[in-house]
């Protein structure tokens, strides 16, 4: 059964309501990521912000990128970050003093950057601005494997190199361990 263009009785369009809810979830969870004391909770909150961002991508008419966001960010990068947290946090690595000493300067810098971006975005008139259109996934595939095939291959090589490099950096060094013991 098709639902209408706007919410019944209230009269707000579904798109707007979804955008407000997703944007609020995104901003609140992002603020929690950078301010919470317990770093495991920061990681879980990061997952929430990735999920709401996937919702915004779907709202922008890009289902393929939304699905990729769920697969890569929520499925892979969040899990990677959570495992790294479990591997690196000691109990005495303090929960006290979450921030550096220059936290106020950082806050001012972030506010300046946010304001500059917002003011620039609001005052610029963009050329060729049209209405929101959704992207056809078949077109994306055609473009990716035709015009962008070289970046695609380079990214695949880069990913392989990154995985090999990651394993090399994070593995235990057996020689040094045995040297320590003897």
């Amino acid at each position: 059964m098709p639902i209408g263009d706007s919410i019944p009785l209230v009269g707000i369009r579904w798109d707007d309501a979804l955008f407000v809810v997703l944007a609020a979830t995104l901003l609140i969870s992002a603020v929690l990521v950078v301010t919470m004391r317990d770093i495991i909770r920061c990681g879980l909150s990061l997952t929430v912000s990735f999920a709401s961002l996937a919702g915004i991508y779907a709202l922008l008419g890009n289902p393929l990128v939304a699905a990729t966001q769920v697969l890569v960010y929520i499925g892979a990068i969040s899990v990677l970050i959570l495992f790294a947290i479990m591997l690196t946090q000691t109990k005495n690595a303090p929960a006290r003093l979450v921030f550096q000493t220059q936290v106020w300067i950082a806050a001012v810098a972030a506010m300046v950057i946010g304001n500059v971006i917002a003011v620039t975005a609001l005052t610029t008139t963009w050329p060729n601005l049209g209405d929101r259109v959704s992207t056809v996934t078949a077109d994306v595939a055609r473009l990716l494997f035709h015009d962008y095939v070289l970046p695609f291959e380079i990214v695949s090589v880069l990913l392989t190199a990154a995985v090999v490099g990651g394993i090399y950096l994070a593995r235990r060094e057996p020689d040094r361990r045995e040297g320590d013991r003897s």
Binding site: D15, D16, F19, L26, L27, A30, V33, V34, C42, G43, L46, L53, L60, N62, L64, V65, T68, V72, Y73, A76, I77, L80, I81, L87, T88, Q89, T90, A93, F99, Q100, Q102, I105, A107, A110, I113, G114, I117, A118, A121, L122, W126, P127, N128, L129, G130, R132, T135, D139, L144, P151, F152, V155, L158, L159, A161, A162, G165, G166, Y168, L169
Partner: protein, 103 residues
């Protein structure tokens, strides 16, 4: 509201600012990496917003966003591996205690 480019750009600007704050202010190396992920996501949101509202960029934006996601995944892999390697030597995840180059 959801049909204007400006709201998406302001949203991504705010997300980028939050990420900047986290990167500059947190002491924990993994928190800094999480803030970098937030900033990369803000950039991706900008790309896709432009793609959705400017017709000639429509398909290109999706392709570029996919490539950015792949590169961000590579960055996260190497970054976390470096943090784990440093942790194994220094036994602390706090960046202000990584000061052996000072001596």
């Amino acid at each position: 509201m959801s049909n204007s480019l400006d709201s998406y750009l302001v949203l991504s600007g705010l997300l980028f600012a939050i990420g900047t704050f986290g990167f500059l202010a947190r002491r924990n190396a993994i928190s800094m990496l999480m803030s970098i992920e937030l900033m990369l996501n803000a950039v991706n949101l900008t790309i896709l917003a432009f793609g959705a509202f400017i017709a000639p960029l429509k398909t290109h934006a999706a392709v570029i966003a996919l490539i950015v996601i792949a590169v961000a995944a590579a960055e996260a892999t190497v970054g976390l591996a470096i943090i784990i390697a440093i942790y194994r030597n220094k036994k602390t995840p706090l960046v202000d205690e990584y000061d052996s180059m000072k001596d």
